[in-house]
Structures are given as structure tokens and as C-alpha cells.
């Protein structure tokens, strides 16, 4: 059985929660919708608002569906899991789209909006995705040490 983990991080993203219908564990953040475990008949649904860590949920998932927040994306890509990002088109100054678009261009994830979610799930091909190399904070540390004269 396939497992899908759906996450909205610390935000409220009711549109996504409403639209998701695949077998899943759903993390719902601050949103107003908290689905009951018996609300979807064809699947096993587990929903929660917040957890200290979603690392286990990501690890057990075959697919992660996430909002475009940096933490959720980086954690999923860092765990080398297929990621479908759903961009919240109701947010002010929708900068989330920039990251999703860039990472999509670099073939690290797929992305869509709540209204195109169902279509994307039907037609997507996860085999096109390539691994995401982690960032290098050491470059930042070396630069800062030199600039500040740290011994």
C-alpha cells in the first residue's frame, strides 16, 4: 500500500487539505479543517496539527505533498523523497512560487496549485526527478570567520 504524507508546515492552507484524496497521513497546521479519521471512505487517513518532528512521516512516505515552505521542502528533498509542492495562490506576494518553479526547473520536484492538484496526481511521472544536493553552510562559516577575524 502506498503512503502519501501531506504537510502544510506551520501555515493554514485549507484549500490543499480539502482537495487531497489519496491514501495519506495529513499534517494540517493552523488551518480550520481537521479531517476526522473516518471522513474519507476509500482510504486510511490520519490527521494532526503539529508534531515536534515530521522526519518519521517523511521517511515512511512514498510521496510527499507539501506547501512550498522552505523547511518542508528542504526536509523532504534532504530525505530524498519524491515531492509534489502545492503553491498557495491566496498568499500575499506569492514568493513561494519562485522556489517551487526553480526547483522544478532543476528537476527536483513537481508543482501545482490546489485547483490543478487532481490532474497533476493523475498524470505525474516521478521518474523524471533528480536528487537534490544539500546546501553548504560551511562556505558561509568560512566566509564569516575570515571577514570577522575569527581565529
Amino acid at each position: 500500500m502506498k503512503r502519501v504524507f501531506v504537510t502544510v508546515g506551520t501555515t493554514s492552507f485549507d484549500d490543499l487539505i480539502e482537495r487531497v484524496t489519496s491514501p495519506e497521513a495529513v499534517q494540517v497546521g493552523q488551518g480550520s479543517i481537521l479531517p476526522d479519521s473516518d471522513s474519507c471512505h476509500e482510504l486510511t487517513l490520519e490527521a494532526f496539527r503539529f508534531k515536534d518532528s515530521i522526519a518519521e512521516n517523511i521517511k515512511c512516505a512514498d510521496l510527499v505533498i507539501s506547501h512550498a515552505g522552505a523547511g518542508s521542502c528542504l526536509e523532504t528533498l534532504g530525505a530524498d523523497k519524491p515531492l509534489l509542492v502545492v503553491v498557495n495562490d491566496k498568499l500575499m506576494d506569492n514568493h513561494q512560487l519562485e522556489l517551487a518553479r526553480q526547483l522544478h526547473q532543476d528537476s527536483h520536484l513537481l508543482y501545482c496549485t490546489p485547483s490543478t492538484l487532481t490532474e497533476t496526481l493523475k498524470t505525474m511521472d516521478l521518474a523524471v526527478l533528480s536528487s537534490f544536493l544539500p546546501g553548504q553552510p560551511k562556505h558561509f562559516a568560512n566566509f564569516l570567520d575570515r571577514a570577522l577575524g575569527v581565529q
Binding site: G9, T10, T11, F50, D52, A68, G69, A70, G71, S72, L74, E75, L91, M92, D93, H95, Q96, E98, L99, R101, Q102, G135, Q136, P137, K138, H139, F140, A141, F143, L144, D145, A147, L148, G149, V150, Q151
Partner: protein, 216 residues
């Protein structure tokens, strides 16, 4: 009439002095090397969600020379304190010395808050930020974009303006920002001492920024 003219001239003169002093302070960043005298005291601004994750990834890479570490979080932030404590406790396990504190100030702006009310809430946060920064006297402020960082950086700048202490402002734009800067980034680009971007498109648009590739 003469009194008014005198007052006006006095005001103009004061404003010009403040601007000149501000430019002098802003341009003196590269000469400021707090690491040469000993440990570097850092004020770290943690924001909601991804901001805290990113800043802790940066903090992980810094050596124990960066101490004490003062984390500032917004009063309505429920998640960051736990993440910070977990991070700092893991540092203790690796034998890394150094103290840390966690302080709270009013949030400058909630997600989706209107621009006009954000000005008022940011000014309110400034009333808390100034005494806090004046008390902590950090060598450096490290931030990555939540609204909370604007009043704290402004307070750091004020400390320098008044000749009390030169506080280095280090800004790392979030990895989420590929083509455009955040509002905090646009404000702080001109006054930061070290302004990092993580995508080359931003480096092209903001030539004073530092691009080292993805660093979180």
C-alpha cells in the same frame, strides 16, 4: 520669523549630521573585526516555520567562537523555542562550550497582515528591540528575513550611530527567494554589512550581495 528660520536651519543641520554619521557607520563594516579580540557575541533572529530551520542550519556550521548566542523570537511564535533548545542541547553533547539565551519581543508582522498596520506593529517592536539590543550589546546580528529582524537591525544600527558599539548586520536571504528579495531583504540590503543571497539571479540584481551558492 527669524526664530522660525533659525529653527529650520538647525533642523536641517541636524538631519544632515545624522545622515553623514549614518553613512560613516554603514561604510565602516569591513574594518570591524570582533573575532580578533575573542568570542563573537551573536544576536540571532528566529522567525516562524522555515526561517528558524534555515537559521539553525547556519548556526550549526559556526564554531564555538560565536558565543554567547542570544536567540530572539516573536512573542506569538510557539515552535521556534523547542527547535532552538534541541539544537543547543545537541551542541552541548558534542562538547561545544558557550552559553545561549532565548528572548521574546512583539512580532513585527503576522503572515497576511496589511502593510499599513505592519508599520505600527513594527514601531511597537522597535520599542522593545532598542532596550534589548542596548542591554545585550552583540558584536553581530544574524537574521534571514522574518519581520522581527527589521527593528532589531535598526536597534543595532542605532547603537553604532550613537558611538556606543559597532554592531555588524549579517543578513542571509531565505532559500525561498530566487528572483526577488523579501520585504525585510529590500529594507536591509542597504544597511547590512554582509548580505547573502542563495541564487545567482539575485546576485545579478543586487550586486552588493554575496553569493556562495546554497548555504542551508
Amino acid at each position: 520669523m527669524a526664530v522660525l528660520l533659525g529653527l529650520f536651519t538647525g533642523l536641517c543641520f541636524t538631519v544632515i549630521c545624522v545622515i553623514v554619521r549614518l553613512l560613516i557607520v554603514i561604510r565602516s563594516g569591513s574594518k570591524c573585526k570582533p573575532g580578533e579580540k575573542g568570542p563573537v557575541c551573536v544576536l540571532i533572529v528566529a522567525g516562524s516555520g522555515g526561517h528558524t530551520t534555515e537559521i539553525l542550519r547556519l548556526m550549526e556550521s559556526l564554531s564555538q567562537s560565536y558565543s554567547p548566542r542570544h536567540y530572539i523570537i516573536a512573542d506569538t511564535d510557539k515552535m521556534s523555542e523547542d527547535k532552538i533548545r534541541t539544537f543547543e542541547n545537541s551542541k552541548k553533547d558534542t562538547g561545544s562550550k558557550g552559553q545561549f539565551t532565548i528572548q521574546r519581543i512583539p512580532r513585527s508582522r503576522e503572515v497576511r497582515q496589511s502593510w499599513s498596520s505592519s508599520v505600527i506593529s513594527t514601531l511597537n517592536a522597535l520599542l522593545y528591540a532598542v532596550p534589548l539590543v542596548f542591554r545585550l550589546r552583540p558584536d553581530m546580528v544574524l537574521c534571514n528575513g522574518p519581520g522581527t529582524c527589521v527593528p532589531l537591525c535598526a536597534a543595532g544600527l542605532l547603537l553604532g550611530l550613537l558611538g556606543l558599539k559597532r554592531v555588524l548586520l549579517v543578513y542571509v536571504e531565505s532559500i525561498c527567494r530566487v528572483e526577488s528579495l523579501s520585504l525585510s531583504g529590500k529594507i536591509l540590503y542597504h544597511i547590512s554589512d554582509y548580505f547573502f543571497v542563495q541564487w545567482s539571479t539575485l546576485k545579478d540584481k543586487y550586486p552588493k550581495s554575496i553569493y556562495l551558492g546554497r548555504i542551508v
